[in-house]
């Protein structure tokens, strides 16, 4: 018995008779004998819901929890109950891509609101309906830059960009005629004075990240002008939670803003789903990858929303396309939209500030009380990197015994980082009591 297969035996017989065949196997007669699969797939037969749930429950129970100070691209923030409730509405999650606008206004309007919110946060003109994640958004942004600038074949990126972003970029571009060149860092941030040496007529864009992989903030004063004089574009990746307090990409003069909206209402969920966001200046609209929702009118003159500018997209352009993106993280983008509506304009500012306050409290206490220091003297938001007197992986293992995920050893992200660097993230969810216990635990672990 299968709960999702409604056919009764007599219905199957009737249907076969209407089709004019005797058996279901006759409908598979077009599969040549030699490639037919004759056995039974080698795993268990179907199970009851109770058995399945027990199995999943036991798998979930084998994952251990701890008080988390983990970040490096995925953060443990509050998720309001209203957000979870709306994200669980079947009208949203069991719907298809809104290709039929007359019966898809719900998703279309929510995405239009998402686009608006991304433009507001980044201080840029246009946003798409979302991309897969922040790392792949970087590849799409760089491709957008190469396709929008004349006679360019080089993308510069800062050494301080998340190592996974760099790896995704390399995989994306290594079979294309595009050169990726790393601009070095100095004292834990992009060496802005070095950027000039890398500039030439072939440079399509510079990609940077702030807060960067160490959590440090980078000062981009003058960078946008330098790039624009060279007819190159400026791409800034930012944790969007920081944008409630910190200078937005548009305010730094960026042409393209990217990042990941995971902090906005999405569970860390072992890394996904999250949402890549991309916003850009009006000028770049026609080369923007992915879906875009636009406002229009219906036949009665009523406001309506619709997927638009589809001439850019792969299903029209096929092999001439410059991106193959044919979906978005619609439901996850909708959840981030509901989150931003719920916390609201003032709430986002307060939350963002609270993250910064708590991270500074912990960093201040740790560096004052323990033989650890910040890996560089730089400003930070809700994450910072500590230089430890021991390998970070060892410390993490010890502190796990006390019920803490102490942070991300940077050499986990890339083996080239010194083994004593630990990235520590502090969100609004961490209480003073947890932080004080964390300090005690670290003290014990360092002995």
């Amino acid at each position: 018995m299968f709960a999702y297969l409604p056919h009764t035996d007599s219905e199957i017989k009737e249907m076969l008779a209407d089709i004019g065949v005797a058996r279901i196997d006759d409908l598979f007669a077009d599969i040549p004998e030699k490639i037919r699969f004759k056995g039974q797939l080698d795993f268990e037969t179907g199970k009851s819901e109770l058995e399945v749930y027990r199995r999943l429950h036991s798998l979930a129970a084998r994952n251990k929890e701890a008080v988390s100070f983990l970040g490096a691209g995925s953060y443990d923030h509050i998720i309001p109950a209203a957000v979870t409730a709306l994200g669980g509405r079947t009208e949203f999650y069991t719907s298809y891509t809104p290709y039929q606008p007359e019966i898809s206004q719900g998703v279309l309007q929510a995405i239009f609101e998402f686009q608006t919110m991304m433009c507001e946060l980044t201080s840029l003109d246009v946003s798409n309906a979302s991309l897969y994640d922040g790392h792949t958004a970087a590849s799409e942004a760089c491709a957008l830059a190469v396709n929008s600038t004349r006679k360019t074949d080089t993308v510069l990126y800062s050494s301080t960009v998340h190592p996974y972003t760099k790896q995704v970029l390399r995989t994306y571009f290594n079979d294309l005629p595009v050169k990726l060149v790393e601009v070095p860092e100095k004292d834990g941030v992009l060496d802005t004075s070095a950027v000039k040496e890398f500039m030439n007529g072939q440079v399509a864009a510079l990609l940077v990240q702030s807060p960067n992989v160490y959590g440090f903030l980078e000062d981009y004063s003058g960078i946008a002008d330098m790039l624009h004089e060279n007819k190159s574009l400026f791409i800034i990746s930012s944790n969007p939670m920081s944008l409630g307090t910190l200078k937005s990409q548009g305010e730094w003069g960026a042409d393209i803003a990217i990042g990941d909206t995971q902090p906005f209402g999405l569970a860390t969920y072992y890394g996904g789903p999250s949402v890549g966001y991309i916003a850009a200046t009006e000028k770049l609209l026609r080369k923007m990858p992915g879906r875009i929702v636009g406002q229009t009118l219906d036949e009665d003159g009523k406001r309506a929303f619709v997927l638009t500018l589809q001439a850019r997209e792969q299903h029209i352009k096929r092999e001439r396309a410059t991106s193959n993106i044919c979906s978005n993280q619609a439901l996850a983008a909708l959840i981030s939209t509901v989150y931003l509506a719920t916390v609201g304009k003032e709430g986002l500012k307060e939350l963002s500030d609270l993250n910064m306050q708590k991270a500074h409290y912990l960093a201040g206490q740790l560096t004052a009380q323990l033989p650890v220091k910040l890996s560089a003297r730089q400003p930070f938001f809700n994450e910072f990197t500590l230089e430890l007197p021991c390998p970070a992986q060892e410390l993490v293992s010890k502190m796990e015994q006390d019920g803490f995920f102490a942070g991300v050893p940077l050499n986990m992200l890339h083996p080239d980082y010194p083994e004593n660097l630990l990235a520590v993230a502090v969100t609004e969810k961490r209480t003073r009591e947890e932080m004080d216990r964390y300090i005690v635990s670290m003290k014990g672990a360092l002995k």
Partner: protein, 488 residues
């Protein structure tokens, strides 16, 4: 008259000072933000994010949800999209805190449950497809195609066959196939289908040379027809030194009946959001898992999940890896749902699902083929394609008009204008989860629309009338793009 509340944007409901969520009190000494970071790092401008209460939020998005059609409301005969029912146990399993709270960088010994699930899922998907191992990282079908093309590239680079830059794609292929091959650095050559809607071996032979990297195929193809000569085609491509890529969009037709690996394919991408029942979410998140034959395993994207001495781990030590294709490990919540589905259905249930999907498609086809033109009249697999070309000539009723008529009668439209090789195409895939009554209702509505086309086509041009909005002005949307709300 002011705008109806239910038609407003969330921004238009905003009232200065209204709040929707209480932030926890700070339990640490607070400092001025200027004392934490230098003023030059601080945001200057305000945002126009809404100021609304929780009640406003709930009502606003609940009302929006009611303007949306969905699988839980009714039938979705969308060809190549496999809009089957999304079981509720999948959602319950995926909501377990033990999964949801996992951080991608927490120590792997604390994430054994999810790693075991990912390992088991990979293993079962290999069994269904006849492949050897794979990756669950791709976020969507098109992302899986891109990953598949990277397997091709890495394989030929390793063999020193850099000249193999040509990828063959049939004219009936999904639109993303050529785009994915192109952005992975390949030159795309289109292969014409024969008069039976299938890839012809004679046509294929003309493209076999030292520049061939391989071919991307869907089987059954987008006409719902099984490519009978697939084994011969695979031999030809392999003899020419090329590889075969299987687009898994149509796997729902053949589970337990035949396997891409046994047909000769080297790389397979699956759409877990189609065949394995995970919800489409209004356009995502999905999952485009990719399975490969062992000769391509050395090129897997990093990391891949492995098992050693009873422990599961993420293996980053893949010397010839194509690199990294996703930030972390893909849409993991989607993987939990697909795994739950496979456990529920089991080996027998998956086979039965494919059988009934094919039964349902043939049933609709036979019942309606006297009213709608069926360009390829033979046994189909899980889907088939009608053409409205004659209807358009005779009555000026297009595939779009038929689609909008269906919306008026409360049924979702089929996929229209695809595949490109059929004019005024209407591609219909009922899936196995629709009952006979549901199919009969659809058939009745389609017959009614065919009657209207003959007797009163004007009416069809006006449809839909009773949907939340009527036909929308696409030209206006593209000509004068309004892509965001702005404060007046």
């Amino acid at each position: 008259m002011s705008m109806d509340l239910k038609d407003k944007l969330i921004f238009e409901r905003s009232r200065t000072g209204r709040r929707g969520f209480r932030i926890p009190e700070a339990d640490i000494p607070q400092k001025k933000k200027e004392d934490l970071v230098d003023r030059r790092f601080l945001r200057g401008g305000e945002t126009a994010l809404p100021e609304v209460s929780e009640v406003d939020v709930i009502r606003h998005y609940t009302r929006l949800s009611q303007k949306n059609y969905c699988v839980d409301m009714g039938f979705y005969p969308l060809g190549s999209c496999t809009m089957k029912y999304n079981p509720k146990i999948n959602e319950a399993a995926a909501s377990l805190e033990g999964f949801a709270r996992l951080h991608p960088l927490q120590p792997q010994q604390t994430a054994q449950g999810i790693l075991e699930l990912m390992y088991e899922l990979t293993d079962k998907l290999c069994e269904v497809t006849g492949m050897d191992w794979g990756t669950l990282q791709p976020f969507a079908g098109a992302h899986g195609e891109f990953t598949g093309m990277k397997f091709f590239r890495s394989y030929f680079d390793k063999r020193g066959e850099n000249q193999r830059t040509k990828v063959l794609v049939p004219d009936s292929a999904h639109g993303t196939n050529p785009a994915s091959a192109h952005i992975a650095g390949f030159d795309v050559v289109e292969v014409k289908s024969d008069q039976n809607g299938l890839v012809s071996l004679d046509e294929l032979k003309q493209h076999l040379d030292e520049n061939l990297a391989g071919i991307m195929l869907t089987n059954p193809n987008t006409l719902g027809l099984f490519e009978k000569e697939i084994a011969e085609a695979a031999d030809l491509v392999h003899e020419a030194g090329g590889l075969l890529y299987y687009d898994g969009a149509n796997l729902n037709a053949i589970m337990g009946k035949c396997r891409p690996g046994d047909m000769g394919f080297d790389v397979v991408h699956l759409n877990l959001h189609k065949t394995f029942s995970t919800p489409h979410g209004g356009g995502g998140p999905g999952s485009g898992a990719v399975m490969v034959k062992s000769k391509l395993e050395p090129f897997l994207p990093a990391p891949t999940v492995r098992k050693k001495d009873g422990r599961y781990y993420l293996d980053c030590d893949i010397p010839d890896t194509m690199g990294r294709i996703s930030g972390f490990y893909g849409n993991v919540a989607v993987l939990v749902k697909a795994y739950t589905y496979i456990l529920t259905m089991g080996s027998d249930g998956l086979k039965k699902a494919s059988e009934l999907a094919v039964l349902n498609a043939n049933y609709i086809k036979e019942k309606l083929k006297h009213r709608y033109h069926l360009p390829y009249d033979k046994i189909c697999k899980h889907e088939f394609v009608f053409s409205a070309e004659d209807m358009k000539e005779k009555y000026d009723v297009s595939a779009t008009d038929v689609a909008k008529g269906l919306l008026e009668y409360g049924v979702h439209a089929p996929t229209i204008y695809f595949p490109l090789i059929v004019h005024e195409a209407m591609m219909i895939e009922p899936t196995e989860t629709e009952s006979k009554e549901s199919l009969d209702h659809f058939i009745e509505v389609m017959e009614g629309i065919a009657d209207l086309a003959e007797n009163n086509p004007e009416k069809l041009h006006e449809f839909p009338l009773s949907t939340p909005v009527r036909r929308v002005d696409q030209v206006l949307a593209a000509k004068k793009p309004v892509l965001r709300w702005k404060k007046e």
